[in-house]
Symmetry: C2
Subunit: 448 residues, 2 copies
């Protein structure tokens, strides 16, 4: 059972049992049984989450309900650009099976989760700027409630327009499975990009990042499909620890901050059409020539290499010491100010912490990673992590009106901050909602 008791990066708990149903009916039977016998259930999808949302606690009393055998149903509706699929399918499997149709589920992640977990955490990813989050791409859901009957509900199905009451499916998106278990979904699909061009942009300074994004959006519209920020420390960590990477910078000198910009088109290149690389080049040239240009340097390069570095940041940072990671979000205009604030105050508060941030500048998400030496004081007993989290989230929420969880949802790891930052009225409403839907309780989070 170890694979089901251990999280992707953190946590190892003990399960009373692992149950692996194959159909919605079986999930219903399991939940009904567990509710009637007072057994706590933790739904588990790909178990790739980073906030301890899918593993049992250490007490050994929780039943893990795994979706990993719910992989049979896969029905493409090409006219509707939608897919009806079981919630246990892996993202990679879904997109491999869709490839021949020229369509894909446009959530781009480093990990390879299953659909149910993506819905329960409302993941975003690297191309949010163009395609939005999971919420935007869910057309319908089948869920099973944790009540004595194991009630099965179907919402929305494959319709894009449907305003006939409360949009109940929203309740099950991004709430870590606490209100019901998603067993099947209908997803919006997009056309696969068939032309892309990528560039590394070096902004003239932190304050130049927003003008640069605005100029790119102004000149490229939704052709701009990614605008990802990478700090020097994060890049250095990746280059140091991921041997397959090549240092792409002149003389190997990593700039303070680098933007990975991607443009893409979803159709075959036409002869009459300006190639995408030329278009990107001329847009960058134009930006260089503006007064007080926000761009210090820029070069176009091979997409796979440029993305390989971006995708290796997480691994590199993890390997470079003891990592304490944050997934926070802001108004776009506040991102760099937040990062500067961290850089300014960290040395005094946590002198051993090295900031290795990267983020999705286009949508306001920041992966703030703080790396400590493995023997740093307070690591072993957790006191360092607690103090750091308290401070980072206080700055995020109180000073910047940001979010303490951009796309990782809650889980046990964020429970304390949910409790701290959620108004009592909202907690009461969530509590009441739980009574209405899954009074048996589900998952690892207490919303009430």
């Amino acid at each position: 059972m170890a694979a089901y008791e251990t999280g992707a990066r953190y946590d190892a708990g003990r399960a009373l049992a692992v149950v692996r149903p194959q159909t919605t009916q079986e999930v219903s039977a399991v939940l009904s049984y567990c509710v009637r016998h007072g057994l706590a259930v933790v739904p588990q999808s790909g178990n790739t989450g980073l906030v301890s949302g899918s593993t049992p606690d250490a007490a050994g009393g929780q039943v893990v309900l795994s979706l990993d055998r719910m992989t049979r149903h896969f029905a493409l509706d090409a006219d509707n650009r939608s897919l009806e699929a079981d919630a246990g399918l892996l993202l990679s499997d879904v997109n491999r099976r869709l490839e021949a149709s020229g369509l894909f589920f446009p959530i781009d992640l480093g990990a390879d989760p299953r659909l149910g977990g993506m819905i329960a955490t409302n993941t975003g990813g690297s191309r949010f700027l163009k395609y939005g989050d999971v919420r935007r791409n869910v057309l319908g859901l089948t869920v099973v409630l944790a009540d004595a009957e194991g009630t099965i509900l179907e919402f929305g199905q494959a319709l894009r327009k449907n305003n006939t009451g409360v949009d109940w499916k929203q309740l099950f998106i991004g709430t870590s499975g606490a209100f019901g278990v998603v067993t099947r979904c209908v997803l919006n699909l997009e056309r696969l990009p068939l032309q892309t061009a990528t560039a590394y942009l070096v902004p003239a300074g932190p304050e130049a990042v927003m003008p640069l994004l605005r100029m790119m959006e102004e000149r490229l519209g939704t052709t701009l499909s990614a605008f990802e920020g990478m700090s020097r420390n994060a890049i250095a960590a990746a280059l140091d620890h991921v041997p397959s990477l090549r240092n792409p910078f002149q003389n190997g000198e990593i700039p303070d901050y680098v933007i990975l910009a991607e443009v893409s088109r979803t159709w075959q290149a036409r002869e009459s059409e300006e190639p995408l690389g030329d278009m990107l080049e001329s847009v960058l040239a134009e930006i260089f020539e503006t007064e007080a240009a926000p761009l210090a340097d820029a070069f176009i390069g091979p997409a796979h290499e440029m993305w390989a570095l971006r995708h290796a940041l997480s691994e590199g940072v993890k390997q470079s010491g003891r990592l304490i990671a944050f997934d926070v979000a802001f108004r776009r205009g506040d991102i760099m100010a937040f990062c500067e604030r961290m850089k300014r105050d960290m040395p005094e508060r946590f002198p051993q912490g090295r900031i290795c941030d990267f983020g999705h500048i286009g949508d306001g998400g920041v992966h703030l990673n703080i790396v400590f030496p493995r023997d740093a004081e307070g690591l072993a007993d957790g006191s360092l992590e607690t103090a750091l989290r308290d401070w980072v989230y206080a700055v995020t929420v109180e000073d910047f009106a940001g979010s303490f969880s951009a796309e990782h949802a809650i889980g046990r790891k964020n429970q304390h901050y949910y409790d701290l930052y959620t108004p009592q009225k909202i907690k009461d409403m969530a509590c009441g909602l739980l009574t209405l839907t899954s009074p048996g309780g589900l998952g690892t989070v207490r919303f009430g």
Copy 2:
């Protein structure tokens, strides 16, 4: 008070009073007062809805809470591409004030509603295909609950990524104001289109519409910003009754079905770039040359003329007799089959009814309009309308798994069908939810 008692197209009721607060605090005071004194409240925004969702009933006991003075707050955040605005602002005012920034709120409607009502009905409009509905474009909401305290809640604000619990703002979108009154919102903005090209496409037959849409999407991606269907009857009605229109078809012969296709780019035309009109032309030429081409005819024309006809359909149909209108939605692949089914069965069931449908093929929405002679039997006593609605919705929901309200929401007019087609469990949940949020009750719809 007449303007507040009378709906845009249907209904004239009587109000006990009309209250016109100017701030969220004043809305709170009004709702608190009304709840404590047992007064029923109907929130009213632009009052342009078509399902009797914003007018009082005939009994004269309901208070109309108008948003029309809540127009002061208007705060553009250009970096974040978002607008924080009071809910009483007119859509046209919002977009006029945004124009200089190159941004707009991308919901394209024939009517000119206020923001609060657009949120309460989750409107879609003619460019849903590219920009989605209101739900997709709402980042944050301030709402006031109908409880004894007139509780004020703020959700989400200006963040694009925020997964820290239940996404409560979803509850107030598309639910006709029944769970709370939206007083302020934060909206996602998009860049204004700066290049467009439009064409009328004549599909080879009803079965060619979907292949045509798929080919267009394949070759144009999100450059395709509208794909609107217009039936001959709807076009004829507009040409007959709206004198400013010009008949654009060869020899004035209106085809059975016409698609208005629009492509757009949000940046200034560049010299190196193929003009959008040329691109559209070459795509259409390519489609003409495919085997079993789905296209019988096509011509590019001036955008304002082509859209003028599209936007006049509603008015033309209304003027051509006594109109009974439906706003239904389907999987995209079912739209034409549904319309064919109506054409096949209407003559026998409702021999005097003329079908004047048009719709948003790109998102599955159909405006099914049935026009009767003004003296048709059963019109005066409402029996014809009831029989027709019962039948059309039964085919929509039972035979096609479609929606009986695509983008008009519920209102008094759809109450009966909500009651009929909503499972008891969902009604119970909605009832419980109302108790949790606005126990005083609000609006014209009973969800429980």
